[in-house]
């Protein structure tokens, strides 16, 4: 590792430790690192958008004579009216266009892919001759019980109440799996940073001594 890389990794190590210092309590080092992350991310994002969207999708077409691009340009400009109480109504056509076109494209596809295909995936072959068939029974029972929990037009008593209670347990299993994976994700981030710090201090030791 060269001196330059060692210095930059030193900066990274300092920022990592500054961020983790928040676990003890809020402090100026944490604040500095936090503001740096937010500032760098916003600056990077702004430049990426400028060069990958604003220039090629508006300025270049306009400068090459494709003047109809002025329409989305004006719609985009109108969005800035949101910052003024007096003129914010001007942004409504743009918002209407974005919400309308977005909903038009998304709703049929979401219905198809998030509802209908999931419903059809719940229609499984059941039986007792193989393990997958038995687990399929469990899946179907759990789907119905979880749905029963969200049916509020009937009091959750008797058999229906029992099904709704089993539905809660089903949801809890789902939340538990989600929590376990979340812990794994958070630990992964910590582990990677600790391995980075270990390697950095090892290299620093070798460079100094």
């Amino acid at each position: 590792m060269g001196t330059t890389e060692l210095i930059w990794n030193g900066v990274a190590a300092f920022l990592v430790l500054s961020i983790y210092s928040f676990l003890y309590k809020d402090n100026p080092f944490y604040k500095f690192a936090e503001h740096l992350v937010v500032g760098v991310s916003a600056g990077y994002f702004a430049m990426i958008l400028y060069y990958n969207a604003f220039l090629p999708k508006l300025i270049h077409p306009l400068s090459s004579g494709q003047y109809w691009y002025v329409i989305p340009g004006i719609l985009g400009l109108l969005m800035w009216a949101r910052f003024s109480r007096k003129w914010q109504w001007l942004s409504r056509p743009t918002l209407g266009f974005v919400i309308g076109s977005g909903a038009g494209v998304a709703i049929p596809l979401y219905l198809q892919n998030y509802v209908l295909r999931q419903l059809s995936a719940s229609m499984l072959p059941v039986g007792f001759s193989s393990w997958p068939q038995i687990t399929n029974i469990l899946i179907i029972i759990m789907v119905f019980c979880a749905l029963a929990y969200f049916y509020f037009s009937k009091e959750h008593t008797g058999v229906f109440g029992g099904a709704a209670k089993f539905g809660i347990w089903t949801l809890m299993v789902g939340f538990g799996a989600g929590f376990g994976m979340t812990v794994m994700g958070r630990v992964a981030l910590l582990a990677e940073r600790v391995v980075f710090l270990r390697d950095y201090f090892h290299q620093l030791w070798n460079a100094v001594f």
Partner: protein, 283 residues
């Protein structure tokens, strides 16, 4: 205050300290943990293995440095496997802070395998609004990406001569840390029937298993554990090696194991404290 109540009201900083110590000790005292490969990870590896030299695979890289720990190892392992098998790669990024992630991987791995930009791989770059971009790519990659990331028109790149849209790529692997995956499932697979697999962060993993069951995706790499499984398969296939320090996710798995044990212990202690103090109040 009883012992159990004290346990329940333990200052969270003690928990952070214990976990921190466990992580540091495990990082210094390195050991290996046994690993088994799940079918959802193996299916992606096997699919890439089934591709012929010259086939085109698309990788959608939708993450930024905050998810680097979990997702970068997946991107590296898949890219190395593809380049070693002479599979062409078409890459894009739909996360605003992610373009640098792709560039880092592709620059390093292409150099390792002597792959040429425009011939063996094409990096199309970043465009905002993932849904619209994916829908446009389904018609023609040139609509959202008339030029590649480096400003070369796609039409002038040799690899892109016979590639128009998703029909011309064998499959798409989306590696994502956000809602980008939803768009790939909904639009690339749902609208254009593209063959899709995903690699996601641990937090997201359980949300996407239903799509595996419904066969909307053919594989799922979940978090660091999934990444280490893929690395295990790639190492077994001879595409990456421990000697070259290419098993990045696997290196952190011992830390995962010990930390999880400690967290489980804390959960048990917390629950015992809860039930015992509840019993005491009732008694």
């Amino acid at each position: 205050m009883s012992f159990y109540e004290r346990m329940m009201n333990l200052d969270r900083r003690w928990i952070y300290l214990v976990i921190g110590l466990v992580v540091v000790v495990t990082a210094i005292w390195s050991f290996t943990v046994p690993l088994y490969v799940t079918p959802e990870v193996r299916s992606i590896y096997d699919y890439v293995e089934s591709l012929m030299p010259g086939d085109v695979l698309m990788i959608g890289v939708d993450y930024d440095p905050s998810a680097l720990a979990e997702l970068h190892p997946m991107t590296y392992a898949i890219t190395r496997q593809c380049f070693a098998r002479n599979i062409k790669l078409l890459l894009c990024c739909l996360h605003q802070n992610g373009p640098g992630m792709v560039e880092q991987v592709i620059a390093e791995v292409a150099k390792e395998y002597g792959k040429v930009n425009g011939v063996d791989y094409v990096y199309m770059g970043y465009k905002p609004y993932p849904g619209i971009t994916i829908l446009a790519m389904g018609q023609n990659f040139r609509i959202p990406f008339p030029e590649d990331y480096y400003g070369t028109p796609l039409d002038s790149l040799p690899m892109m001569r016979n590639i128009t849209n998703f029909d011309n790529v064998r499959a798409i692997i989306n590696i994502s840390a956000g809602s980008g995956t939803e768009y790939w499932i909904n639009y690339a697979n749902g609208r254009y029937n593209a063959k899709l697999a995903i690699g996601v962060t641990g937090v997201m993993t359980s949300d996407y298993y239903p799509f595996l069951q419904s066969k909307q995706i053919f594989g799922l790499i979940g978090g660091m554990k999934g990444a280490s499984e893929y690395e295990y398969l790639a190492a077994k296939g001879g595409y990456i090696s421990k000697e070259k320090d290419q098993l990045v996710a696997s290196k952190s798995m011992p830390i995962q194991t010990t930390t999880h044990v400690v967290i489980i212990l804390f959960i048990v202690v917390g629950n015992v404290g809860y039930f015992m103090s509840k019993r005491k109040k009732q008694g």
